[in-house]
């Protein structure tokens, strides 16, 4: 009996010991800046991209435009926005963000930019999957500051907060990030993802392009030139990866969310009341990606409903909507697509110029 009792003590003590070490590591490195303690490992960058965007936003009366969306809109560059619309711009896209996360960022931007005139919102179809309509990542919901900024959720979190905190401490993803933080601190070589204007550094380093009218022409030319062209094996495999990633991730068990549409309407009302224009772009998909997804999953009807609903938002005087249609051919060649859903700076520049003419 004593042996068994001692064995139990060994099991629970050792388990407690390893779990404590794990918890201390994550608390100390705090890669998502969730705990916000003064004694965390000091590194200049962290992986809470929402907080990072907030930190980068200057208190400025000059910023008139913000752009936001997910990774699909990270290819937009503030320089191009400024060229098209004038005034200063700031980039608030965060990869993988959902509607509520974006609305949180818009609220933060309004605090920082009192003269904000326009919100360019790159809408993603997956936002309308009702599995994610109330999704906020742990780095927002578990961060006291960001959590206070978020809009109220219709469905409070499915897990109690202690469960979320527990995941945060013991998730292998967070542990991996913790070690990366330590690596950064030791090497002193930090990789900055965003520049001072919130643009993804890799994109903003591309030489500035002459866009507007010229890009519009370019789009048409490319659209014509693609006829008869075959997609390269490289792009084809990347599109295939996108199909897997989307259909097993954000599009999984898709059911069209009216709640997301309602959030869009609320956002529209909120901005209209403050005389801020809302420009919505329905993020286009590569035709092959779209065809594969539609062939294998019954999503075409919902996809079309999404475009129709966005267009109906455009009926309001202070809202402009751009949706991909047959009259808006999208180039399919490799330089303009990284995979099935991410396109080039040229394409995004052309979208901006089309948006400005319809505004």
């Amino acid at each position: 009996v004593n042996l068994a009792k001692n064995q139990l003590k060994v099991f629970f003590s050792f388990l407690f010991f390893i779990m404590s070490l794990n918890a201390l590591l994550v608390l100390w490195t705090d890669p998502y800046r969730v705990w916000n303690q003064s004694w965390v490992l000091k590194t200049q960058t962290h992986m809470n991209f929402y907080l990072r965007k907030f930190e980068l936003m200057p208190q400025s009366h000059e910023v008139e435009s913000i752009i936001l969306g997910a990774s699909t809109s990270e290819n937009f560059v503030t320089q191009d926005i400024e060229a098209v619309f004038g005034g200063k711009a700031f980039h608030l896209s965060v990869a993988g963000s959902q509607t509520l996360g974006r609305m949180t960022l818009i609220r933060l931007a309004q605090q920082k930019f009192p003269n904000l005139k326009r919100v360019i919102y790159i809408s993603d179809f997956y936002e309308f999957n009702d599995n994610y309509e109330d999704y906020l990542p742990p780095e927002v919901i578990d961060n006291d500051f960001l959590n206070k900024q978020r809009p109220k959720l219709s469905l409070e979190w499915k897990h109690p907060s202690w469960v979320r905190h527990f995941w945060q401490l013991f998730s292998h993803v967070v542990i991996e990030k913790s070690f990366k933080q330590i690596g950064k601190a030791i090497s002193g070589q930090e990789k900055f993802i965003y520049n001072k204007k919130g643009d993804v550094v890799a994109w903003s380093e591309v030489p500035a392009q002459e866009i507007s009218a010229q890009s519009r022409e370019q789009l048409k030319v490319l659209a014509l030139s693609q006829q008869g062209d075959t997609i390269s094996p490289w792009l084809s495999s990347k599109i295939q990866e996108s199909v897997i990633e989307y259909t097993t991730g954000v599009l999984k068990d898709f059911q069209y969310s009216q709640r997301t549409l309602q959030m869009y309407t609320e956002l529209q009302k909120e901005l209209t009341a403050k005389s801020i224009d809302l420009l919505i772009v329905a993020s286009p998909w590569h035709p092959k990606f779209k065809k594969t997804v539609f062939n294998q999953y019954e999503l075409q009807k919902d996809y079309e409903a999404w475009l129709t609903d966005l267009q109906s938002l455009g009926l309001s005087s202070q809202t402009t909507v751009w949706v991909p249609t047959e009259s808006h051919p999208i180039p399919t060649l490799k330089p303009h697509w990284r995979d099935g859903v991410h396109y080039s700076r040229e394409v995004s520049g052309a979208l901006l110029s089309q948006l400005s003419t319809s505004e």
């Binding site: 139990l8 050792f14 388990l15 390893i18 779990m19 979190w157 202690w162 469960v163 897997i244 259909t247």
Partner: protein, 508 residues
């Protein structure tokens, strides 16, 4: 999978929950105990591991001392567990249990020749529930399809029938009890709490093992009088930890590789299709035997010994042996209550083969309402008949390793039907598999999970050659070093539990 709760219900519950702040403890309790259609009490969830199990164990061993109070507490805990999955179906569970309890009592008072109508009532009610909830649309669709040949159109009602979780398991358990009483193999129980504790005991409620009343009831009677046993707890930790790691570290990693690939079936190469088939065989074994080990471990926590459910089935050298090692509690249920009821091997050679085929085909159908399951069952029935036809000699000559490999491949081929959502999907899978095209690349395995999949796939194969969790205990009682390893494995499983994933057998 709906876990007994429709999407709209989840949302309604969610809306009710918004009145609570998520930082308030009552809200946590609310979420934990009443919002489980959204987040059910899976064995591999934090709520279960760190709140439900500790609370139940503390209550059972230290808070309540009397036999009656412990039984009541045990039943309440099981109801909370089941209610967390689908509280709407809790009355159904209670009704089913009570009905069989009463039927058995009534039968006891009747002469053996007058018992038949009561046992028939029990079978009809239990199978009726099962057929309605599980097979209604299957039979209706099949009927419509057949009537279509006669140019008769059958209008199908648009009822949204949700499968109550665990119904296939608990109806079989309680039905076997009434059959035993009918056959005079057993006396009926007089204590409803005890019978409920047997049918509804949470570790085996939703996905087995299918335990016989005479294996568990007497143990429950004993354990409610006993004191906490540290030895049983150590054994429980051994089984539970191994089961958790099997599920979370191995089965889920393999699933992360093959599930996305199988969504792209039409684009897979033959090699990828083969890897998916082999991977699914390994996933299903580690998933379900992991669940069974966890259930056995939980049983030990209450000083209860559950029967073995898996005995290294992929070490089998024939299909006959495979069924002695795979889902053992279901196999013996089918043998005792179906195969023998049909006449077993007492009615001549032809009827023996017929009974085998029928038993395996119905066993296949038990797994799911689809023709693919029927075909899977019939496929195994066919192999059992072939092996029986060939007599005692093993079907495949050659070294043990070769026979084992061939048996594994035969099982894997069958599992293609099992994994496929439809028959046409299964046919497509076979077509790709035997087209021998596409080379040896793994293009359709997502790059982010490909490496982990390969590692876990190989590890799963290696583990087949090692002793299983039961053999490990028989060989050597866990010592101090084992406890350190278990703690480490438990921790690693926690870390890999990034998200809860349901066990495959919950859908049956």
């Amino acid at each position: 999978m709906s876990y007994g709760l429709k999407r709209e219900d989840k949302r309604d519950l969610g809306r009710a929950a918004q009145h609570y702040s998520d930082d308030l403890w009552p809200a946590n309790l609310y979420c934990l105990f009443f919002l489980k259609g959204v987040s059910p009490l899976l064995f591999n969830s934090l709520q279960f591991l760190f709140l439900f199990v500790p609370c139940v164990l503390l209550g059972f061993w230290f808070l309540f001392r009397g036999s009656n109070s412990r039984l009541i507490f045990m039943n309440l805990a099981s109801f909370v567990f089941y209610g967390a999955w689908s509280w709407k179906f809790l009355p159904l569970l209670i009704f089913s249990t009570y009905f069989d309890f009463k039927i058995a009592q009534i039968m006891e008072k009747k002469k053996p020749e007058k018992r038949k109508k009561y046992v028939v009532a029990s079978v009809v009610v239990n199978l009726g529930l099962l057929v309605f909830f599980k097979y209604f649309y299957f039979f209706l669709d099949t009927g419509s399809w057949l009537l279509a040949f006669l140019e008769i159109e059958l209008t199908s009602p648009s009822w949204d029938i949700v499968l109550p979780v665990g119904i296939s398991f608990y109806t079989f358990q309680s039905m076997s009890y009434t059959i035993d009483v009918y056959r005079s193999h057993s006396k009926p129980y007089t204590d409803y709490k005890l019978f409920t504790a047997y049918v509804c005991f949470f570790p085996q409620l939703v996905a087995g093992p299918i335990i016989r009343h005479n294996e568990l009831v007497s143990q429950i009677q004993e354990t409610v009088k006993k004191r906490f046993s540290a030895e049983a707890m150590v054994l429980g930790l051994h089984f539970f930890t191994i089961g958790l790691a099997k599920k979370v570290v191995i089965a889920d990693r393999i699933a992360a590789g093959i599930d996305p690939a199988l969504l792209q079936l039409a684009h897979l190469s033959s090699f990828e299709a083969l890897l998916c088939a082999l991977g699914y065989s390994l996933q299903l074994y580690f998933d379900f035997s992991g669940y069974s080990d966890m259930a056995i471990g939980l049983g030990h926590f209450f000083n209860l010994k559950f029967p073995v459910n898996f005995d290294s089935p992929y070490k089998s050298q024939s299909i006959t042996e495979f069924w002695r090692r795979w889902h053992i509690t279901l196999s013996r249920w089918l043998r005792d209550y179906l195969y023998i009821a049909l006449g077993g091997n007492r009615l001549g050679t032809f009827k023996t083969y017929r009974n085998l085929m029928l038993t395996m085909t119905l066993g296949g159908l038990w797994h799911g309402a689809g023709w693919n399951y029927v075909v899977w069952g019939a496929y195994h029935g066919m192999w059992l008949v072939i092996e029986r036809l060939l007599g005692a000699a093993p079907l495949w000559r050659g070294p043990v390793l070769l026979r084992t490999l061939i048996t594994f491949l035969v099982v894997t081929v069958g599992l293609i039907f099992f994994r496929s959502p439809t028959m046409s999907y299964a046919m497509d899978w076979f077509e790709i598999l035997f087209s021998f095209e596409g080379g040896f690349r793994l293009d359709h395995f997502h790059p982010k999970v490909r490496d982990k999949f390969v590692v876990m796939f190989l590890m799963a194969i290696v583990l087949q050659f090692l002793p299983n969790s039961q053999e490990m205990v028989k060989k050597q009682v866990p010592g101090y070093r084992s406890m350190l390893y278990y703690a480490l494995i438990f921790y690693l499983s926690l870390v890999f539990m990034a998200s809860e994933s349901p066990f495959l057998y919950f859908q049956f």
